[in-house]
Each structure stands twice: as structure tokens, then as C-alpha cells.
């Protein structure tokens, strides 16, 4: 699945005894990352980098964030033994890291609380965000309400339709939601519009990016705020099983839930780190969102990474049933993990993800987000490959309430008019 690591990547890996060394001060993860933005934003990125460097060394800031994570967001999230899934795959122990139980229903809240506290620290009064599935938008709207910040969320028009309930949620939380009608009308275009806003408002506005992507320091900072997932999971698995897991599996859109759970395990070289990209209709069809499996190195949204592009460097439109994975790029640290071979990435198409969603609902009583269902589909394969003695941790990045409409239509549980139809989703 993973390409042969290049000689350059081998050299990077040799240097990388300490993975904490990434990124370098200019935001590079090996040859990826960096800051490809207009000069007008450079001062703001410098300001943000400095504010973040100070905050992460400030015990007051850390205590405030930890306090919110514990008393507001509901951390630590549990690690659930998925007994019936274990049985289903023939014995491998499957453990679920339950980010779906965090406040607002996904891991996105971890990052947003950190960035919104930082916004206040910088003396800014307004945050803007992009959102695909709406989960990052909901989390940003939530933290903004909590901390008294003005909030504007950009969302592709296509996604406002797919995730209408989350649009209503954000508005209930007091955020302004701006549908974006340019380009492909999905996540990448929402990011474009947020960047256009930011360059004109940067004096009082923070751009709260929702994944481990964008220009430095975002990939590093968002990773750090999401690391709590892996820190907790690692301790919980050790406590529960007395050893490290054989594999950790997560879905990858921009890559924040995956980076968050992977990062603390990176030095544990016996633990396989496996990211699941969205395969849409299948990579061979060209209608997918698998930046590593089907993309190439390039520059988009301020970073060098793998992305879907044509021979002229024009971004190609991604496709996935999952709005949160429907993005033509991937965070630069994943590009490095892939190139060095420390993590591997596989493709899960729409049909496999939806089958996993139905299976997990019936066997574990958990309706997971369609994004997370990609991780489950990958993990079921990994569990079978590794055999009955293996332990596999799956990052259950979010809950599926927002996806009931999409899932019901996929399985034919709703007719065109939206009325219930009595069929068996197992087909």
C-alpha cells in the first residue's frame, strides 16, 4: 500500500530519532509543510507562533485548557472493549477510543478549545473557521459561545445541504454560517473563503483551522492540541491490557484525529500506525479523496503535501460520501509519516465505510460518524490480517447523529420524500 520510502526520506528518518523534532522552526516536516501564504499573512503567522510558544510553556494556560477539557468537554474519553466486533473478526481485541463521547460529538472540540483560548490570549475578539461535515464548525461555534467570541463559519454550499442539521446547530449556538458557492462548493472552497476573510481581518480575527493542515504553525499546533487523544489512549491500553497495541487505526481527512492518536505512539516502533483515506467510488474511478494513494506532491492552502491535482497543478475535486473527509490534501506530517514508512495509509471506499457503519451500529450499539466508519472498515481488515492475538485500537472520532439522513438514504430507509421505509440495512 505504501510507496517505497525514498533515499531522502531514509535520511530524514535517520535524523528523526526524536520525532518531537518535527517540525523544524520554519514548519517543515522533512520536505513537507512550510508556509506558502501571501506576505500579508506572515506577520499574523509569526504572532500566532510566538503566542503559541509562550502559551504552551505557561502553566496557567495549560491548567485552563486542561480544566475545560475535563469539566466542559468530558475528558478523558473512555476506551471501550468492542466485544462483539472482536468476535466478528475472529478474535483480535478491538478497543475503541471514544471521541464520539466528547462534547459536541467529535474530537474537534480538543483543538478548538485550545485555539479559542489562544485567541483570547492574543487579544482577538473574532474567530473564523472552515467546516466540511460541520463538526469543526459546531465545535468552534460552541467554544466561541463559551468564551464570548464572535464566530463566522464558512461551509461549502454542497456541505450545507449534506449536513443541514449541523448548520442549524451552529446558528443555534450563535455563529454566522456563510455558504460558499465558489469552486467545488465543499471543504477546500470553504478554506479559500476563510483565508480571504482572514487577510482582511487579521488584526482582530483568528483563523481557527480545524485540522493538522495549512501554513505553519497550524499543523504543529493542532497536532499538539489533539495529542491528548493518543496520550490518554496509550495509558488506557497499557492499563487495560498490560502492553502496547499492535496497531492504531484512524480515518484521515486533513488528519487531525489520526495525528492526535498517532503522535504519542510514534516512538513505539512496534505499534503499526494506519490511516484510512476516503476512497469514494474507488481510487481507480478518479472520484475519491485519497491524497496519498492517488495524489502527488504539491502546494495547497499554505503547505507542501500530497494532494489531488492535474498535470498543470490545478487542484482536482475530491469525492467522498463523508463531508469531513472530502478534501484533496492531507496534513504535511502525514506526508512525512508516509514517506518515512512510519505510518501506512490505506483506502476505504464509500461502500466499505457504510457497511462498517451498519455493522458497528448493530454489534456495538454505537452509531459512528461516516468519517469514523472509514477507520472501522480499515480496522476490521487490519484485525483479520493480524490475527486473534492482536490488539487494535480504533479512533472513534465522532458520533453519527449528523449522518442519520445520509445513512438512511444510503440504506434505503427513507424514500425520496423522506418518509420511513422498512428495509434491512444489512441488505
Amino acid at each position: 500500500m505504501s510507496a517505497t520510502p525514498s533515499a531522502e526520506a531514509g535520511a530524514v528518518r535517520a535524523q528523526a530519532e526524536n520525532w518531537q523534532a518535527f517540525p523544524d522552526p520554519a514548519g517543515h516536516f522533512g520536505r513537507f509543510g512550510g508556509r506558502f501564504v501571501p506576505e500579508a499573512l506572515m506577520a499574523a503567522l509569526d504572532e500566532l507562533t510566538e503566542a503559541y510558544d509562550q502559551a504552551r510553556a505557561d502553566e496557567g494556560f495549560i491548567a485552563e485548557l486542561d480544566g475545560l477539557l475535563a469539566t466542559y468537554a468530558g475528558r478523558p474519553t473512555p476506551l471501550t472493549d468492542a466485544h462483539r466486533l472482536t468476535e466478528h473478526v475472529g478474535g483480535a481485541r478491538i478497543l475503541l477510543k471514544r471521541e464520539d463521547l466528547a462534547h459536541t460529538g467529535s474530537h474537534k472540540i480538543n483543538n478548538v478549545l485550545g485555539q479559542c483560548l489562544l485567541t483570547k490570549r492574543m487579544g482577538k475578539t473574532r474567530v473564523i473557521a472552515e467546516t466540511g461535515a460541520g463538526q469543526h464548525g459546531v465545535a468552534t461555534a460552541t467554544a466561541s459561545a463559551l468564551l464570548g467570541l464572535d464566530c463566522v463559519v464558512y461551509m461549502g454550499e454542497e456541505d450545507t445541504r449534506r449536513q443541514a442539521l449541523n448548520v442549524a446547530r451552529m446558528r443555534l449556538l450563535g455563529a454566522e454560517v456563510v455558504p460558499v458557492a465558489s469552486g467545488s462548493r465543499t471543504l477546500k472552497d470553504a478554506i479559500n473563503e476563510a483565508m480571504r476573510d482572514w487577510v482582511a481581518t487579521v488584526e482582530h480575527t483568528h483563523y481557527c483551522i480545524g485540522s493538522v493542515m495549512g501554513p505553519h504553525p497550524f499543523p504543529m499546533m493542532v497536532r499538539d492540541f489533539q495529542r491528548i487523544i493518543g496520550v490518554e489512549a496509550r495509558a488506557q491500553v497499557l492499563d487495560r491490557t498490560g502492553r502496547l497495541p499492535d496497531a492504531v487505526v484512524a480515518c484521515v481527512g486533513g488528519g487531525s484525529n489520526a495525528m492526535g492518536i498517532f503522535h504519542p505512539f510514534i516512538p513505539d516502533t512496534g505499534v503499526a500506525l494506519i490511516g484510512c483515506e476516503a476512497g469514494g467510488d474507488g481510487v481507480a474511478t478518479g472520484r475519491h479523496a485519497a491524497a496519498i494513494a492517488g495524489g502527488s506532491s504539491g502546494v495547497l492552502h499554505g503547505m507542501r503535501t500530497f494532494l489531488l491535482q492535474d498535470e498543470f497543478g490545478q487542484t482536482q475535486v475530491s469525492h467522498s460520501i463523508s463531508a469531513g473527509l472530502d478534501y484533496p490534501g492531507i496534513g504535511p506530517e502525514h506526508a512525512l509519516l508516509h514517506e518515512t514508512g512510519r505510518a501506512s495509509y490505506r483506502v476505504v471506499d464509500d461502500a466499505a465505510a457504510m457497511a462498517a457503519l451498519a455493522l458497528v451500529a448493530r454489534t456495538e450499539g454505537i452509531l459512528v460518524a461516516i468519517e469514523s466508519a472509514h477507520a472501522f472498515a480499515g480496522a476490521l481488515d487490519v484485525a483479520r490480517e493480524l490475527g486473534p492475538d492482536a490488539t487494535v485500537v480504533v479512533n472513534c472520532s465522532g458520533r453519527g447523529d449528523k449522518d442519520v439522513d445520509t445513512a438512511a438514504r444510503w440504506f434505503g430507509l427513507l424514500d425520496d420524500a423522506g418518509a420511513a421505509v422498512d428495509v434491512d440495512p444489512r441488505g
Binding site: G34, A40, G313
Partner: protein, 275 residues
């Protein structure tokens, strides 16, 4: 050695005026239509042409340039068409630059792009999202082919960053007059003159001001303190409006010619900067 841009700026200084730099995207409304519009703008007094390379994710552009770029891409414009446009426009004798987001050059290969741009008669390229920190391959390729790499400064740039940007730019330094995306504005804003003064304090290079200039009066105002006046969205808007109202190509070219002539008059009548 003096580049074509250097010669033009020197000559304009001697004439006591600023250079007029006009931007239009390649491939809009068609490749040939775009070439005709750029030639019309040169005939009416534009000194230097920026040929825009339409890109799928124009995060620094407002609605006017976004719409034109979208239409050009839907029409199938390619990097080769952009180079063909450069060749046709450079043939008029006006120094012709490519204005592009970085990824299309990255994908084409910086060395190959520089070679092909030079072969087409191009004078250089403006690369607004390529920061000095990442520019080494492009600087090397530009130097090898005698191209001027042009970089931007913004009102938010520190003096240290202005020095960094001016240090690697050739031809001129592009001063973005305001914090925001491309588009016409009612006024040029007060940041521009300050920014030009700060750039002048660090470099001998000419400074051209862009973003928001759309009228002859604004051009005259900017000419009072800058070596070059850059106009983009206002010119593009003439073409976009002509497409929407269906007035025909001849009328669109007339419109471009009229606006370019008004702007050319503006840069020849600089309003002395109030101290």
C-alpha cells in the same frame, strides 16, 4: 545587466512619471480573446503586462478575478496557453510578466518553467504565495534564464521582512496597498504611501503599488509616491461585464482601451504626495 523592466523604470523616472502595469488573466474569455485584450491595453498605454495564470484555488483574489479565472479554467486554459499568451504579448515590446500562484510552477517544474517563460520572451514572474524562505529553486532558475523574480510586501510586513523581500526581488518590489484580496476599492487607503516609503528605505529597486486602483484619479494619486501603478480587477471587470451583457468582443476591447488610456493619463499626471 539591466533587464527590460529596469530599462523601463529608468526611462519612466526620466520622464517624471510612473509605469502603468496592467493585469489580465490568460484564457479569458478565450486564449485569443485574452491576447487581444492585452494587446489593446498595451496599445492604449499600459507599459508592463501581467499575464495571470488561472488557478483552481485563488485564495488571494476577490470575486472579479475568481470569476474570470473559473471561466478560463472551464474553457480549458493550460500552462502552455499562458506561455503562448506571454509570447504574443511580449511581441508588442511591453515587458510581460506571469502572475501566478506557486503550485502551477511547482508542478511544471521551476527550471522548465523558467526556461519556457524566457523562451516565450517573458520578463519574469510575480509569485505572491511563494515566500522568500521557499524561493531558492525559483531564484536560481530565474537567474539562469535572465528573468526578474518579483515578490510582494504588505502593510503588515516588518522592516526585517521588507528587507528580506526586497533583497531577493528583481525588476521591482510589489507593494500590496492594503490588507485584503484583489478587487476595486473606493479609495487607495493611507497604508500605501507609508509602505512605499518603508520599502524605499531599504532598496534602490523601483516600487509598484497594487490592489484597489481602478480610476485615472487613483492612478495619479499613487503615481505621486510610487514608481509603478498596478491595475488588475478594474480591467478584468471590463471584460467580465462585457461577457455578461453580451456586447461583443469589439466593445469589450474598446472598453479596455478607454480604461487603459484613462489610467495611462493618470500615471503621467502624478499628484504630488502631501508630506
Amino acid at each position: 545587466m539591466q533587464s527590460r523592466l529596469d530599462e523601463r523604470f529608468t526611462a519612466a523616472r526620466e520622464e517624471g512619471r510612473s509605469l502603468l502595469v496592467g493585469y489580465l488573466p490568460a484564457g479569458y474569455p478565450t486564449v485569443d480573446g485574452g491576447i487581444a485584450a492585452m494587446r489593446a491595453m498595451v496599445a492604449a498605454g499600459v507599459d508592463v503586462v501581467e499575464v495571470g495564470l488561472p488557478y483552481s484555488d485563488p485564495t488571494m483574489d476577490g470575486p472579479v478575478i475568481q470569476d474570470a479565472a473559473d471561466a478560463a479554467l472551464r474553457g480549458g486554459v493550460t500552462t502552455a496557453d499562458v506561455l503562448r499568451t506571454v509570447e504574443a504579448v511580449a511581441a508588442t515590446g511591453a515587458p510581460t510578466l506571469v502572475m501566478t500562484y506557486w503550485n502551477p510552477i511547482d508542478r511544471y517544474g521551476p527550471a522548465r518553467f523558467a526556461a519556457d517563460l524566457a523562451a516565450a520572451g517573458g520578463a519574469g514572474a510575480i509569485t505572491p504565495d511563494l515566500p522568500p524562505e521557499e524561493a531558492a529553486p525559483w531564484l536560481a532558475a530565474s537567474a539562469e534564464h535572465g528573468l526578474d523574480p518579483v515578490f510582494l510586501v504588505a502593510p503588515s510586513s516588518s522592516d526585517a521582512r521588507i528587507r528580506l523581500v526586497a533583497g531577493i526581488s528583481r525588476g521591482f518590489v510589489y507593494a500590496a496597498s492594503l490588507m485584503g484580496v484583489t478587487g476595486t476599492r473606493a479609495s487607495v487607503g493611507t497604508h500605501a504611501a507609508d509602505l512605499v516609503a518603508r520599502v524605499r528605505a531599504t532598496t534602490e529597486l523601483p516600487v509598484a503599488v497594487g490592489l484597489g486602483v481602478s480610476t485615472g484619479a487613483q492612478a495619479a494619486e499613487v503615481a505621486g509616491f510610487a514608481d509603478g501603478v498596478i491595475v488588475g480587477s478594474a480591467l478584468v471587470k471590463v471584460l467580465v461585464d462585457a461577457q455578461r451583457s453580451g456586447v461583443g468582443d469589439a466593445a469589450a476591447l474598446d472598453g479596455i482601451g478607454r480604461l487603459a488610456a484613462e489610467l495611462a493619463e493618470g500615471v503621467r499626471a502624478p499628484v504630488p504626495a502631501s508630506a
